[in-house]
């Protein structure tokens, strides 16, 4: 029954977008953490979305989205010269995460909007199913 597949698809979209929002929140929360080496400092994370294509993919009508994994950014860390900092290394440097707060803000808004689109999808599908169940009663 194809209407019920919409709930699966919209649900997968909501789940993927909320994971993205979660990762963004984690990036934002850790944006101002510091560490004494570039290896131990927090790295910005990004979820990887993937279309759940199964066999005979081009014939398949519903394609849910799934999270293939979460990757850490390779962008260079920001080193800051601050010899008075308690975490400063031997040369007086502290390391800050490679999180771009502006990028994360835009990501957050995009994830929220996409989540909303999926919620509206599920609610429209619910209305369609309910109207179908009322068929012939009027």
């Amino acid at each position: 029954m194809s209407i019920f597949n919409i709930f699966d698809v919209a649900g997968s979209g909501m789940s993927a977008q909320s994971t993205r929002l979660n990762v963004t929140a984690s990036n934002m929360a850790n944006a101002s953490t510091v560490a004494s080496s570039a290896d131990t400092v927090y790295r910005a994370r990004q979820p990887i979305f993937e279309a759940a294509m199964q066999q005979a993919s081009h014939q398949q009508q519903s394609v849910p989205v799934l999270i293939a994994g979460i990757v850490e950014s390779d962008k260079p860390m920001m080193a800051e010269y601050n010899p008075n900092h308690p975490l400063a290394d031997g040369d007086g440097y502290i390391y800050k995460p490679n999180v771009n707060v502006v990028e994360e803000m835009a990501n957050m808004i995009s994830a929220t909007r996409s989540y909303q689109a999926n919620v509206q999808l599920a609610s429209a599908a619910k209305d369609m199913a309910q109207q179908t169940l009322r068929l012939g009663k009027g």
Binding site: A10, F49, H58, Q59, Q61, V63, P64, V65, L135, G136
Partner: protein, 131 residues
């Protein structure tokens, strides 16, 4: 005289099914709006309706565990959408605004089909009651 539901309901039962399938395709597009490499798809209504009215599906029965599970239920008219904008770099061709409008329109068309079917049933009920 028996009532043939197939004749009484006419094309509307099939068009409603196709619209439900189209809703599924459009919902997949919206859910994958941020998926890199995903290509937006669309159901060609005319082909899909023609397929639905003369639906053929066939499968091979399996008498052993190691037989292939072959079930062919072709969905005619499932095509890829032509993107209206240049690629933004991730290979995704979903235009969220277009898809949402299409979905809304499709929902209304579904309700329209539902309304027609409702009318058919109301007419049949009236005929049965005879008042």
């Amino acid at each position: 005289m028996a009532i043939s539901f197939d004749k009484a309901l006419g094309i509307h039962q099939h068009s409603m099914g196709v619209r439900a399938e189209r809703a599924e395709v459009l919902s997949s597009n919206i859910a994958n709006a941020d998926t890199p490499g995903y290509k937006a798809r669309e159901l060609d209504f005319e082909q899909a309706l023609a397929g639905a009215t003369q639906r053929q599906s066939f499968g091979l029965s399996r008498s052993h565990d190691k037989h292939f599970d072959v079930n062919i239920d072709p969905q005619p008219g499932l095509l890829y959408r032509t993107p209206m904008h240049p690629d933004t770099g991730d290979g995704n061709t979903v235009d969220l605004q277009t898809e949402r409008n299409m979905f809304m329109q499709n929902t209304l068309e579904y309700q329209m089909s539902l309304g027609f079917l409702d009318g058919k049933f109301a007419g049949m009920k009236k005929a049965i009651r005879g008042d």
